[in-house]
């Protein structure tokens, strides 16, 4: 049983390792098969994310396509030692959605390129750590107390500000922030645990 779990876990990591390699293929060889593989996995998820932000079906389809075209065009900026592919793709989808909703560029500290001074310290193990972190993040999300998971989902999936969440849940602003902080502590512990290994 444990072996099967370990095998599945290992396969899952191998699969996810490939997303970063596929992005590298796109950057270096303009490889359309790699792009198609990424599209088939991420495009339906990107569209689902945009729909959750409250946008219509046709807009979500259009913004998903814009996101995927940006993935193709900006692949050379992706650095697999800095972030998981899903993290990088999420930030592109987020920025394109906000730009559309606000008709203003979401303020960013960096342009498309990674700043080596500001990004996480790079090391040979960073990518492995990032994979472990991502699995831990998923596990934590699935085990968060409902009240904490709720504010995380309302922030990321529905794009709601603290004050909006406060009004909708009928709880003080401070409680919204406390719940987010408590969830954040659990994510932070996972990160530190990863770095210890």
């Amino acid at each position: 049983m444990n072996n099967i779990y370990a095998l599945k876990h290992s396969n899952m990591q191998d699969t996810k390792l490939e997303w970063a390699d596929l992005l590298t293929n796109i950057a270096q060889h303009q490889d359309k098969q790699s792009f198609s593989d990424i599209f088939n996995h991420f495009a339906p998820r990107i569209k689902a994310y945009i729909l959750r932000l409250g946008l219509t079906e046709s807009v979500a389809e259009e913004l998903m396509q814009e996101t995927m075209i940006s993935v193709w065009r900006k692949a050379s900026y992706y650095r697999k030692d800095k972030a998981a592919a899903s993290t990088w793709i999420f930030t592109i989808a987020r920025n394109i959605s906000i730009d559309w909703m606000r008709s203003k560029k979401y303020p960013q500290s960096l342009g498309d390129e990674w700043d080596d001074n500001l990004a996480v310290d790079s090391s040979a193990d960073t990518q492995g750590e990032d994979l472990i972190l991502r699995h831990q993040v998923s596990n934590i999300l699935n085990t968060l107390p409902e009240k904490q998971a709720q504010v995380i989902y309302m922030s990321f999936y529905e794009g709601r500000a603290h004050s909006d969440i406060s009004q909708r849940l009928g709880i003080p602003l401070g409680s919204v922030k406390s719940r987010i902080r408590l969830a954040s502590i659990k994510f932070k512990a996972a990160w530190e645990q990863t770095n210890e290994h």
């Binding site: 359309k32 792009f35 198609s36 088939n40 495009a43 339906p44 998820r45 990107i46 569209k47 689902a48 994310y49 729909l51 389809e61 396509q65 814009e66 075209i69 193709w72 800095k82 972030a83 998981a84 993290t87 999420f90 930030t91 987020r94 920025n95 959605s97 559309w100 606000r102 008709s103 203003k104 560029k105 303020p107 960013q108 500290s109 001074n117 500001l118 990004a119 990032d130 972190l133 991502r134 993040v137 998923s138 999300l141 995380i152 922030s155 990321f156 999936y157 500000a161 603290h162 004050s163 602003l173 401070g174 922030k177 987010i180 902080r181 969830a183 954040s184 502590i185 994510f187 932070k188």
Partner: protein, 219 residues
Amino acid sequence: MNIKHHLDEATLMSYAAGSLSQGMALVVACHLTMCKTCSQRLHKHNAIGGALLEQIAPADIQQNALDDILARLDQPATPTFTKLNQVPDKKAIADIPYPLSDYITQQLSDLPWKKLGNSVAYYDIACGSTGLSRLMRINPGCALLPHTHSGNELTLVLKGSFCDELGRFNIGDIADLDDEVEHQPLVDGNSPCFCLVATDAPLKFSTIIGKIIQPMTGF
């Protein structure tokens, strides 16, 4: 840069989620250009977004979407969106953090400041978001009126320094406050303090004078 006051976890999480107002996101982005610690923390919050993207139940997409996109990949880039609120030929401005240069094109000292009494001046930033988005210039020896907030308030020091009940704030430091804190910033150095301020709701002044001038100042 020796930064001692950082972003609250809850603010950083909402910035990563894309749920901060435009004005508040602008302050956060400016702080991130100055603070390596918070930039590294942001990476972890972005990873939550990546994990959530992996977890979300996939939606149906148009049958021919992939073929359509593959056909567009070799075409020259034709952005759907025109360059959003970007200043043409944007140049680095010495005392302005990079994200702010999307909104202003002059050095701080050259801005058309509006005076608010003898010691305080402000310049509103056209963020188009709810709440306040404002640059402030406060002369030495000046204390702002004591106030609290209906919501969150972010204050980033761009030049000079101030102190309040929470300590001293120098260049790059950020005061990340909410309705549980009442404070009265005082500029006690020898030079003016320039700050970038954003709120997601009007301030609440705690004195009669503050309540009287509130409609006049736009706070």
